[in-house]
Amino acid sequence: MSLRITDLKVDIHGRPILKGVSLDLRAGQVHGLAGESGSGKTMTGLAVLGLLPHGARTSGAIDFDGRNLLDLPPKELNRVRGGQIAMVFQDPATSLHPMLTVGRQLTEHMRHHLGLGRAEARERAVELLGKVRIPGAAEAFGRYPHQFSGGMRQRIAIAVALACSPKVLIADEPTTALDVTVQAGILRLLRGLCDELGLAVLLVTHDLGVMSAVADEVSVMKDGLVVETGPRGRVLREPEHPYTRALLDSLPESVREERT
C-alpha cells in the first residue's frame, strides 16, 4: 500500500465538499478517479498535497509511509510535497512558469529536496527530458515553456513532477487540454512510467475512454462521495451503481446506438 485515504471529509466555510472519501493507491498501479465536475475529484487530489483553498477544514486520514498527511506540520509536509508526492495539473500553459527556463523549473526542487549540486541536477534534468521524450533534451533545458507545443509542455510538466523520484503521482486531468493524437502519447508515457518506476498514480479524469485505456482500478465520485470502486474491466463493463451506468450511457457512443 502506497497511499491510503480513509474517510476524508473536507468542508470549505461550512459547505461540505468531500463527505467521506476512501481510496487506496498501490505502487505500480494507476487508480482512475471519475465523476462530473463539482463531484470533488480535484479536491481529493489537492487534499493529498495539502493544497486545499483557505478556510478548508479536513477530517479523516491520508496515510503515507506510516504518517497521516493531514496532521503533518507545514515544514514536514513541504518535505513530502514535490519530493515523495508530486502533481501534474490540467493545463500545462498555466502550470509552468512562463518566465523561467525549463531547466530552472526542473532543477530547482531537485536541488532543494535531493540536495544535488548544479551540475548533477542539470545532468539529471536532461536525462528526465529524454525519458519523457522531448527531442533535443540538452537544448530544451535552456528554453522557455512558450517555445514548446501543448503536448511537449505537458511532457515537461510530467518531467518536473518526476524529478525527485516521487512514490505517488497525482495527475489532475492531464490530457483534457490536449488533442486526441497528443493525448495518446501522454497516456502511453504515463502508463510506461508507472510500470517502469513503480509509481502509484491517481489519475483524475472525466473521460471514461482515457480511464479505460490506462487505469487499473477505477473509482467513481458523485457529490463528494465515492459511489463505486473496482477493477477497470468490471466498473466499465458491468457497473453496479446506477450513477456509473448513467455516466456510461451519456457517452456519444451509447447515445448514437439508441438513436439508430
Binding site: D179, V180, Q183, A184, V210, R237, S250, E253, V255
Partner: protein
Amino acid sequence: MSLLTVDDLVVEHRTPGRPVVRAVAGASLTVAAGEVVGLVGESGCGKSTLARAVCGLNPVTQGAIRFEGQPVTPLGLRRRKLTGIQMVFQDPYSSLNPRRRVGDQIADGLRVAGDTASVPEDLLERVGLPRDFAGRHPHEFSGGQRQRIAIARALAARPRLLIGDEPISALDASAQAQVATLMRDLAVESGAGLLFISHDLSVVRLIADRIAVMYLGKIVEVGPTAEVWDAPRHPYTQALLRAIPAPDGLGVLPAELAGDVPDPADPPPGCRFNPRCPQVMDICRDKEPDFGPVACWLHEPA
C-alpha cells in the same frame, strides 16, 4: 445550390516582425440548408479561423465565401444586414455579457430578425431551460446552461446558417453530447445549416451528416459521416480515429501519431502531412495533392 460555399479560401495572419502565418491555405467546403457538417482537426489546424472568416470576423486573403450566392463581407463597425449567419462561441463564460440579463441578450437577436411575435422566454424553452431564467444574469448558471443560453441567443436571430466554434469543449463530459444534439436538432428543425467545429470526433460523429477533416489549413478528407468513421481513407483521418480511447474497459492504449503539427508559417513541401504519415511515398514530398474528396496520393481520382 448550397447555402454556404467556401471556395479555395486562404486566410493569413500577419504580425509585425513575424513571418506570415497562413492559417487557412486553400480550403473548400459547402454546407447545404438543413445539413450538419462537422469540421474536425487538431488545435492549430485553422478550423476556428475558417469559421471566423465565414462570419466575416477575419479578413480573407484569397478565395471566396458565398452565403446564399452573396459574398460575405468583413464585419465592420456599421450595422450589419447579413444576420443570416450566427455563431456560438467556444467559451460561454466570455461570450455572454455578464452585466445584462440573459433575456435582454436573447431579445437582441429577436430585434435583429424583426421578430415581434416571440419573447425570449420561448427561446429559453426551446433550448430546454425554464422560462423564468430570462430575468437572471449569466453568473447564475453552469457552463452547460450558459452554452444553452448562447445557443438561444444565436437562434433568436433566425439564422439560416448556424456556426458552432468548439461550442462544447468548455463543457462537462456529461453535458457535451446533450448540447451537441440540441444544436443539431434545433438547426435541422428550423431548416438552417449547421457548421459544427470540434476536435472531438466522437461528438461530431454523433450529430454530423458529413465530416470534413482539416490538417494544417487544408481540408484533407470530406465524406458522409458513416463512411469517414467506418472506412477513413486519408492516413491522417485514420490516425485521428485510432487515437480515440474506447471506454470498453479493456485497457487498450490508443495508437500514437508521431511528431507534432508543423508550424503553419513554414509548412513542409509537398503533402502537408508527409513528415508524420506512416504511408509516405516519394511523390508526397514533392507535390501537394490538391484534389478531393480525399487529398492524398493514395486516393488520386482517376
